[in-house]
């Protein structure tokens, strides 16, 4: 098990290093490339509908609850900044999620709700522009990678009495994030942009009760026992994926896609996961900052 984890860690770091090396070495070759600072701001709002959800929290139950529905709203703002010669883009988002699940038909219900806020800064490699690749990049493939700071506050509640009916979920993490966009040019029409974004936590702090610790002990008796836990890619192997298609319609864009979130943690001998897949639909619009 230890060897497996070490191999994972090794592969993970080597791949990250390769990525950084490739990107920067190519970046240096064409170091004179200059992307003018863009005052354009992209706003997008999408609604996750027809979502599927599966939740497991060993603090509450030894079983996964998966017969449920999921609803999600995401608001995102992206723009290019002046940082690093105008190569860095900023992305901020709010992601609100509500879901309910069942283990067995007619059995108790499990509710999940949470809000994640994040701010990310991504380096746009070469002469890429992932904010508005259709307008500001000559490339078909545009990609950017960087860091994101995010915070999550939410909880799970199980419709059952007792001293362990729910869990508070709170974390503040620094994440790695990358965007890959592909532009499909069309005659007489504005291009369609396909994009994929991957985000996963590198390190941070998360709240968790200890294995058999009650919330009464934490909040009534004020006893903390490793309740603020250092988390990293391996004890919080979460990853979030967004597959999007931006289709120009009049002045804006119709946004369709899938949001896949694999939120999971293994801390204080407790295991948790919340897997969700949402079909998202919304709109994107560009505004000019003054």
């Amino acid at each position: 098990m230890i060897i497996q984890n070490m191999l994972r860690l090794f592969t993970f770091h080597i791949s990250l290093l390769t990525f950084v090396f490739c990107a920067f070495s190519q970046g240096n070759e064409s170091g004179d490339d200059f992307i003018p600072v863009n005052k354009e701001v992209k706003h997008s709002t999408v609604f996750g509908v027809m979502g599927m959800n599966e939740v497991y929290d060993s603090y509450i139950s030894p079983y996964a609850f998966n017969d449920g529905v999921d609803f999600r709203v995401q608001r995102e703002t992206a723009r290019m900044t002046k940082l690093w010669g105008g190569r860095v883009s900023n992305q901020s988002f709010i992601d609100v999620n509500v879901s309910s699940d069942l283990m067995t038909e007619g059995g108790p219900e499990w509710y999940t709700a949470g809000l994640r806020y994040g701010q990310g800064w991504l380096y746009n490699f070469h002469d890429c522009n992932v904010v508005n690749p259709a307008e500001h990049s000559a490339r078909k493939w545009n990609y950017a990678a960087g860091l994101q700071a995010s915070g999550y506050l939410g909880g799970v509640y199980y419709d059952r009495s007792g001293n362990n009916p729910g869990q508070i979920k709170f974390d503040v993490t620094v994440n790695a994030t990358g965007i890959l966009a592909y532009t499909i040019h069309r005659r007489k029409h504005r291009p369609i942009v396909l994009s994929y974004q991957l985000t996963f936590p590198l390190m941070g702090i998360a709240f968790s009760p200890n294995y058999g610790q009650s919330y009464y002990e934490i909040f009534e008796l004020d006893n903390n026992d490793h309740n603020a836990v250092f988390v990293n890619t391996f004890n919080m192997p979460s990853n979030r994926h967004r597959f999007l298609v931006d289709i120009p319609i009049r002045r804006g864009e119709l946004r369709l896609g899938y949001d896949v979130q694999i939120n999971q943690a293994k801390i204080n001998n407790l295991e948790y996961y919340n897997h969700s897949i949402d079909f998202v639909i919304g709109f994107t619009k560009y505004f000019t900052r003054r």
Partner: protein, 345 residues
């Protein structure tokens, strides 16, 4: 061409961490199937990994949980009916003699209530009603009355009701002229521990050590956190009682009520009178097995101020049993003994 190679390599290396992440995905332990064997194994494992009194029960009752598995696994087969499986599982749990360990199905509630069922009740509701009469007051579940000999009588049947500082203070204000107070918690099988502490906090002027607690930190039977001291803070809202108090207990005083007695033992000028309490010092958690039956088990250990277990109850300061002669005369031996003690003081 070179740029293309770099692009491909960059993208590929960006996706490689994804494969690593998927390889360390969190999955639940291998779930047991919804068969008789599966449900038996699931229940045994939930208890094995979460129950907090295995060492103590081994010491006091000789319960070896692995041996229990061998013995009861032999009794489970796929031909058993639902009720038969329920009976076997309840028998297995009953080995622990813990009132907080239950199996609940839609058709029955598995329990071990031997902590009071095997002992005299030492309580007669009809006789207590004679003491209360019809003109008693009720403050959020606390029934109280001024007896003829200027002694206050408080009947606290449960800690499920939301007793607050205001309720207790109004009651103490009404009984302020009494020479002493009798708090009758017989038959009180618990409720919210915070409510028990709220009531107890009106009987001390200083912060007092009431015990220690320790929770499980892992699946092992010995995986516990370091015991932490637990204190009772004096009530800051309302009145605090400054005269003698006698708490009446019987074997049905369980869980939060057992904790109340534990707290009152540390308060000044308080005497515990009656029978040994029922115990139930573990804080219960809930879980379930594949067929949907609910499981309740003790998860957090609470000790008394001397680090003794109170799982099997607390001794009173003065042992009293209900007298048949008193009962025939519609007298409650506990209340009469307490009144005599108050009078002599």
């Amino acid at each position: 061409m070179k740029a293309f190679k770099y692009n491909i390599l960059s993208i590929a290396s960006m996706l490689l961490p994804l494969l690593c992440l998927y390889s360390c995905i969190v999955v639940e332990d291998e779930p047991f199937d919804n068969s008789n064997k599966g449900n038996f194994e699931a229940l045994w494992k939930i208890m094995d990994e979460h129950y907090c009194f295995f060492d103590y029960k081994k010491q006091e009752l000789g319960v070896d949980w692995n041996e229990v598995h061998v013995r009861y696994a032999a009794q489970v087969n796929e031909d058993m009916k639902r009720e038969q499986l329920f009976e076997v599982l309840c028998n297995m749990l009953a080995e622990l003699k813990d009132g907080h360990v239950n199996l609940s199905a839609a058709f029955d509630y598995g329990r071990n209530w031997s902590f009071f069922e095997e002992y005299p009740q030492n309580y007669n509701d009809s006789i207590v009603q004679l003491y209360l009469g019809r003109d008693y007051r009720i403050a959020s579940g606390l029934k109280y009355k001024l007896l003829e000999d200027n002694i206050g009588y408080v009947r606290c049947e449960t800690f499920v009701d939301g007793v607050g500082d205001g309720n207790v203070s109004f009651m103490l204000d009404y009984l302020a002229s009494c020479s002493g107070l009798i708090i009758d918690v017989r038959g009180n099988s618990g409720g919210e521990i915070t409510r028990a502490h709220t009531l107890a906090s009106h009987f001390t002027n200083e912060k007092v050590l009431i015990g220690y607690y320790s929770h499980k930190t892992g699946k092992g039977h010995k995986d516990f956190s370091k015991p932490v001291a637990e204190y009772l803070e004096p009530a800051t809202d309302g009145y605090r009682w400054q005269k003698p108090v006698i708490v009446l207990t019987n074997r049905e005083c369980y869980s939060a009520c057992n904790d109340f007695v534990k707290c009152m033992k540390q308060c000044p000028d308080v005497t515990i009178l009656g029978d040994h309490t029922g115990g139930g010092s573990g804080m219960p958690f809930n879980s379930e097995i594949p067929n949907g039956w609910g499981v309740r088990y003790s998860a957090v250990v609470f000790y008394d101020a001397e680090m003794n277990q109170t799982e099997f109850g607390i001794d009173p300061d003065i042992f009293v049993q209900m007298s048949g002669t008193d009962t025939e005369q519609n007298l409650d031996t506990y209340i009469e003994t307490a009144r005599k003690m108050m009078a002599s003081e």
